[in-house]
């Protein structure tokens, strides 16, 4: 079997991609209007929503960057993972019920629709839509690039495709992504998420058991090796220190409720009462899949320190080297399919919310109405958005990484700082005002983008994202308290009483 390792891996990945294309074709017949395209007509069951929610949370970063971070800085990066239980809980306590109610009450199909209904303000809608578009470009570009790099690594291991270029890999991977997103919209997206999520759970569980058997003494032997080399790396705050760790605790804990690609999925369930089962199922799926993140990183760091494996060229190679050295080909095939699943499930979510912002929200904020024939334009813009993001990815790779790095600053932390106060707090506090919302979003964007542009760093590993998030929270509540109490529409007021 070892002789056919590459063929097995390629077979698993190709099989998965064919499944995505077929799902797109099937979903196309169920997509009749823009509501179907963007929020699946609010008709999804709890299992589908749970798997879609957690698989969109764990992007390619969780399969590549996550193990790389543990390899590089140790336990510090655990904080992004272990805080998930708090993060999911807050997301459901603050957002799930209310966003679902407003969506039905006002026929909302996007997050900017929700904030426009809540605040009665097109300015807030516009700012959230712009934040989403900027974030989507950065996220999508990095996801597409990651997908292409992994595909190139897999294909170049075979004789037939030894010289395959990165551009070809970008074209192939983007084509599959575009096909099922354009044909089936969010319906294709969430049903592929179901399989993607299932693959990720299986991959995470199997990898944990494999990692536990790399050293005779299991994970404890691995952590002992790391501790003997540098104890801080395997202590609770890791190599990056206490404030970097707590920064991730804050941004990932509270910030999950501010991620547009995740909370939009909370609008899609058929029944509000399904939330009670969606929360534990999503968390369970995330925890099982994230076992891969922690176990690969720890074992690879110990293996390199112990001389079992040569030092890695890049920390992000941790997962691929682990798979080639320590796993059998079948498991490697499953995990590589899981990696593509993780990247695609996040990418399709971003394509969907980015398209909604461009064809639905920005025109509505500027002209007071969305464009005619939304479904047609949704499909056109989905293609264009993916092509622009893929071009950004290639430009970044071959010419200048600054652009994508800058857009990358509009990632999780910027969404968290901009959107959490306005949506998660604002949906539960009637006195929140438009001025508070605009100030919070403006502050979050300015600090995140400004610190990235100016190259500002804070002492003790304090991140710009943490500073932005704390500032936007304080200003959102503070400005709302000192400005005139808003007059809410009656239906929104009654909904917020429920």
């Amino acid at each position: 079997m070892e002789a056919f390792r590459q063929e097995i891996i390629i077979g698993a990945v190709v099989g998965y991609m064919i499944f995505c294309v077929l799902t797109g074709l099937w979903a196309m017949r169920r997509t009749h209007n823009s509501s179907d395209f963007f929020i699946a007509g609010r008709g999804l069951g709890p299992i589908v929503v749970s798997l879609a929610l957690f698989s969109s949370t764990l992007s390619g970063f969780g399969f590549v960057g996550g193990p790389g971070l543990v390899y590089s800085i140790g336990v510090s990066s655990f904080w992004m993972v272990v805080i998930s239980s708090c993060g999911y809980a807050l997301g459901f306590y603050l957002v799930a019920k209310r966003i679902r109610m407003i969506a039905e009450l006002r026929d909302c199909i996007s997050l900017p629709d929700i904030v426009a209904a809540r605040y009665g303000s097109e300015a807030v809608r516009f700012m959230i839509a712009i934040t989403i578009v900027l974030g989507v470009m950065g996220y999508l570009a990095t996801q597409i690039l990651a997908m292409a790099v992994v595909m190139q690594a897999i294909l170049s291991g075979t004789e037939a495709f030894a010289n395959v270029g990165l551009v070809t890999c970008v074209v192939i991977s983007s084509a599959v992504l575009i096909f099922y997103c354009v044909t089936g919209g969010i319906i294709a997206s969430v049903y592929t998420d179901v399989v993607q999520g299932s693959i990720m759970i299986v991959a995470g569980t199997l990898i944990l058991f494999t990692a536990m058997n790399v050293f005779d003494g299991g994970i404890q032997e691995a952590t002992s090796i790391i501790l003997a080399d540098d104890y801080e790396t395997v202590m609770p705050y890791g190599a990056a220190g206490i404030m970097a760790s707590l920064g991730w605790f804050f941004v990932f804990g509270l910030g999950l409720a501010g991620q547009p690609h995740l909370i939009t999925k909370m609008m899609m369930n058929k029944n509000i009462r399904d939330n009670r089962s969606i929360l534990p199922m999503s968390l369970f799926g995330y925890v099982m899949a994230a076992l891969l993140w922690i176990s690969i990183g720890i074992v690879m760091r110990a293996a390199v320190i112990d001389g079992v494996v040569d030092p890695l060229a890049l920390p992000d190679d941790a997962a691929s080297v682990f798979l080639s050295v320590f796993t059998n080909p079948l498991l490697a095939g499953i995990v590589f399919a899981g990696l593509f699943a993780a990247i695609m499930s996040t990418s399709d979510a971003f394509l969907n919310i980015g398209t909604a912002a461009i064809i639905h929200d920005i025109p509505k904020a500027i002209r007071g109405k969305s464009i005619e024939n939304e479904l047609f334009w949704a499909r056109v813009v989905t293609v264009l958005l993916a092509i622009v993001a893929a071009s950004f990815a290639l430009y970044s790779h071959f010419r200048d990484a600054t652009l994508v790095a800058l857009l990358g600053a509009f990632g999780w932390g910027t969404f968290a700082a901009s959107i959490f106060p306005v949506v998660a707090v604002g949906l539960n506090w009637k006195e929140a005002t438009v001025a508070g919302a605009v100030t919070a979003i403006g502050t979050a964007l300015t600090i995140n983008f400004g610190s990235q542009l100016a190259g500002i760093t804070f002492p003790y590993g304090v991140s710009g994202q943490l500073v932005a998030f704390v500032s936007s929270m304080v200003l959102f509540i503070g400005v709302s308290l000192v400005t005139k109490k808003p007059v809410l529409d009656n239906d929104i007021k009654l909904m917020m009483d429920i």
Binding site: A89, T223, V234, P236, Y460
Partner: protein, 185 residues
């Protein structure tokens, strides 16, 4: 409670901002955010743990505790005011106590290791790290249980469902009247 709750959340957020500022202004130590491994490229090390906590250790721990308090307060904000009963407050208080206890075991366990250089292990990790890894993960599980098992009691009761259905019916009536103005009475 609602009118006071947002003020408490605001106060905690301001306190966190102040502590963050104090940490940024505190005397710095070399490699507080880690440094490159001397022999293996791509790896970072933490170095002298005691030195890294010398000026900011207690402040950072207070920041962590305030964050846990804020999570509990925000969770409470997500519950309608009339359902913030003493029973719910007891559950939330208990959850907060558990998470604070875990944070203390983590911080004090780390400090004890820095003093003695000795540690036990639990399920693969040094004891303090096990509190962080398993404790933080599991510490919020009561929040999940409160939501799942208490959904019909604290989050969306039958009465709430009826109110929401009434809102939807009102919306449907308005739409119908707008489409057929003659039928409006």
């Amino acid at each position: 409670m609602r009118s006071k709750l947002i003020y408490i959340i605001f106060a905690v957020a301001v306190l966190m901002a102040a502590i963050l500022l104090a940490i940024c202004l505190a005397e710095t130590v070399p490699d507080a955010g880690g440094r490159a491994h001397a022999e293996i490229p791509g790896l970072q090390v933490g170095g002298d743990g005691a030195a890294r906590l010398q000026y900011i250790g207690p402040l950072a721990f207070i920041f962590q505790c305030l964050l846990l308090i804020q999570i509990a307060l925000l969770s409470l904000l997500g519950v309608a005011e009339r359902y913030r009963t003493s029973e719910l407050l007891a559950y939330m208080g208990g959850t907060l106590a558990i998470t604070l206890f875990i944070a203390w075991k983590m911080f004090s366990g780390h400090s004890a290791f820095l003093d003695t250089g000795e540690t036990g292990y639990f399920m693969g990790f040094p004891t303090a790290t096990a509190w962080q890894t398993y404790g933080t993960w599991l510490g919020a599980i009561p929040l999940i249980l409160i939501y799942s098992f208490g959904f019909n009691k604290f989050f969306y009761t039958k009465e709430d469902e009826e109110k929401f259905n009434a809102l939807l019916a009102e919306k449907a009536n308005k739409l119908s009247e707008a489409k057929n103005p003659d039928r409006a009475t």
